[in-house]
Symmetry: C2
Subunit: 340 residues, 2 copies
C-alpha cells in the first residue's frame, strides 16, 4: 500500500507522515498532493482568527468537541485542526503554547490536530497550509478548522483559504486595538465576542456593530488580488444573491457557552454559500490563487535557469553603483539592454 493509499484508507500514522512531507514541500509530498487532489473539495474549511488573548484556541477546541458530539439526530463529523503558530525567529518555538489540548478528545480517531509554524512566511500563513488542508480534505475530514493569530497578512491568507471565517474578539483588549482592526471586517463572515462573561462585553459588541454599519457588503472573492490572468465574470446568474449579513455571537469558550449557537451560524453560512453560489466562487478563487502562486515561483525558477551565470550580478552591480535604476536594471535583464 502506498502512503497515499494508506492516507485514503484512514491510517493516522500515514497521515502524520504525509503532512510532514507536504509541510516540507518534498518531491514526494508534491506528488502525493497531486494524487490526492481529485479526492478534495468536500470539506468545510473554517478559518478562526483573532488577536492573542481572545481565546481562539479554546473556541476551536469547543467547536471540535461540538462536531464530534453533536445534538441528538445529527451525525458526528470528522474534524481536523490546523493551528498556525507565529514562531519566534530566535527560539524557533511556537509562542502560543497550549498545544496540549483537547485531552477529552484524545484517542478519538475522528479528530486530528496539527500545529505548524508560520516561520519563514514573513507575516503570512505558511505556504504549506493549503497543502495540509488538501491532505485532510482528501483523507475525509469533513470540517477543517484553521486557526491563526490575527496579524495582517495571515488573516487575509486564512480568509482566502477558508469558506467561512470567524474573527474572534474579546472585551478589554483596548479601544485602539479595536480601531486598527477595521480591516478585519472585510474578512469576517461571523464575528465572535469570546470571554463574554467579562466586563466591557457590551462596549466591544457595540464597537463591532458600529464598524459593521459603516461597512458596505463586499464580495469576498475580491480578496483575490493580483490574479495572473483576469477572467471575465461568469454571467450565468445575473441576479446578485442576497448579501450575507455578518452576525455577532457571544461565547464563553472555557464553559462551552454559546458554542451550539455559533455552530448553527456556521452551518447557516455554509447553506448560504451553497445556495448563493458563494461556495463555488470561493473554491474558484482559492484554487486560482494557489495556481498563480505556484506559477509565479515556477516562472522565476525558469527565468533564473535561462540567464547566463554572472549576468544578474553584473546588472546588480550597476544598480548598486547607481548607473542603472531598478526599472532600467529589469529592462537590462529581460532585454539585454545595457545602454545607459
Amino acid at each position: 500500500m502506498t502512503l497515499v493509499e494508506a492516507v485514503l484508507s484512514g491510517e493516522r500514522l500515514a497521515l502524520a507522515r504525509l503532512l510532514t512531507q507536504v509541510e516540507n514541500d518534498t518531491p514526494a509530498g508534491r506528488a502525493a498532493l497531486s494524487e490526492l487532489f481529485p479526492h478534495t473539495g468536500k470539506a468545510h474549511l473554517i478559518g478562526v482568527t483573532g488577536a492573542p488573548g481572545t481565546g481562539k484556541s479554546s473556541l476551536v477546541n469547543q467547536l471540535a468537541r461540538y462536531y464530534r458530539r453533536p445534538p441528538e439526530g445529527q451525525a458526528p463529523r470528522r474534524v481536523a485542526v490546523v493551528a498556525v503558530d507565529p514562531a519566534s525567529p530566535f527560539t524557533g518555538g511556537a509562542l502560543l503554547g497550549d498545544r496540549v489540548r483537547m485531552r477529552d478528545l484524545s484517542g478519538d480517531p475522528g479528530v486530528f490536530i496539527r500545529s505548524m509554524s508560520a516561520r519563514g512566511s514573513l507575516g503570512g500563513l505558511a505556504p504549506a497550509t493549503g497543502g495540509l488542508v488538501e491532505v485532510f480534505d482528501a483523507a475525509g475530514f469533513e470540517v477543517i478548522l484553521i486557526e491563526t493569530v490575527g496579524a495582517g497578512q495571515a488573516e487575509v491568507d486564512v480568509a482566502r483559504l477558508a469558506h467561512t471565517t470567524l474573527v474572534v474578539e474579546a472585551p478589554g483588549l483596548g479601544d485602539d486595538i479595536q480601531a486598527i482592526k477595521a480591516g478585519i471586517l472585510e474578512i469576517a463572515d461571523i464575528l465572535v465576542v469570546n470571554k463574554a462573561d467579562r466586563p466591557g462585553v457590551e462596549n466591544t459588541e457595540r464597537a463591532l456593530r458600529g464598524m459593521l454599519q459603516l461597512a458596505h457588503p463586499v464580495d469576498r472573492s475580491s480578496l483575490h488580488h493580483g490574479r495572473m490572468v483576469e477572467l471575465p465574470v461568469a454571467t450565468g446568474n445575473p441576479e446578485p444573491a442576497p448579501a450575507w449579513e455578518t452576525p455577532i455571537y457571544r461565547t464563553v469558550a472555557t464553559e462551552g457557552a454559546g458554542v451550539a449557537e455559533l455552530a448553527a451560524a456556521i452551518q447557516r453560512h455554509r447553506d448560504y454559500l451553497t445556495s448563493s453560489g458563494g461556495w463555488e466562487r470561493r473554491e474558484h478563487a482559492r484554487l486560482q490563487h494557489e495556481l498563480d502562486a505556484i506559477l509565479q515561483v515556477a516562472l522565476i525558477a525558469r527565468w533564473r535557469d535561462s540567464v547566463p551565470a554572472g549576468r544578474y550580478q553584473e546588472v546588480l552591480d550597476r544598480l548598486l553603483s547607481r548607473r542603472l535604476s531598478p526599472h532600467q536594471a529589469v529592462a537590462a535583464l529581460l532585454d539585454g539592454d545595457l545602454a545607459p
Copy 2:
C-alpha cells in the same frame, strides 16, 4: 525646467506632484524615478513602527523637530516624513487620523510630510513607498522618517527599507500583546518605550529586556528572503563586525522627554552601520529586493502576453473540476503538457 529638474532644485510644488505620479505608478513617474536614481543614496532612512496607541506619530514629530532644531553646534537637517496609514477597505480613509500635525513646523521648507495609504497592499507597505523615499532622497532630504503601524508584513517591509528601525512600545498594552510581538525584535535596531510616564513602564521594559536576552543577534540582511538569485557572500573582510546590541530608550513624546537621547542613539546606529559595512549591506539588500520585486512583476506580465488567449482559462477549468492538481496545472501552462 522639467519636473525632475524642479524637484532637484527644491521646488515643493513639483515635489508634491512627482510624489503623486510615483504613488500612482504612472509612466511619467517611473521615468522620473530612473532620472532621479543617480541622485539617491545619501539619506538616512529611519523606520518607525509599533502598535496603535504607542504614540509613534508624536515621536516622529518630535524627532523631526529635533533634526530641524538641533543642539548648538549641529547643523539642522532636512526631514521628510512618509506616514503609511493602514486604510479601511470600506471608508477608504486613514484610520489613524492625526495628520494635522507638526503645526509648529509648518512653513518650514526643510520639512515635508507625506501620508499615503497602504490600501491594496494586503498587509504590507504600499509598493510605492520605496519610490517615494527615493524621490525625497534625490531631492536632498537628509533624514527620511518612515512611519507605519506595526502589523506583520508592514513591519518587515519597513525594516527592509530603512537603515535604522525603531520599534515603539508603550506600557499597558497587555502582556499577551507583547508576547506576540517577539518577532519584531528581529527588525528592531532600537526599542523605544514611549509614554514612559505611565504606570507599568518597568514591566514593559523588563519584558523587552527578557526578549532581547533570549534573542541571538542576527544579521538583518537575512531578512532579504526570496532572492531571485542567491549571490555568494562577499569575503573581503572575514572578520565579523561586532554585533549591534539593540538598546532600549524611554521617551515621553508629548513632552519631548528622551528625544535627544534617542536621536543620539540613532546617530550611533548610523555610525555603527557605516563603520561595520552594515550601511552598504542594507543598501545592497534593499536595492536587490526592489530589483527582484520589479523583475517578478515584469516576468509575469511577459508570460501572460506569451500565452494564447483562452489557454489559462482552459487549464483553470481543468483545475476547478479537479482533473489537474495545482502543480499539474502549472506544468500544463508552462510545458503544454495536458496528459492526465
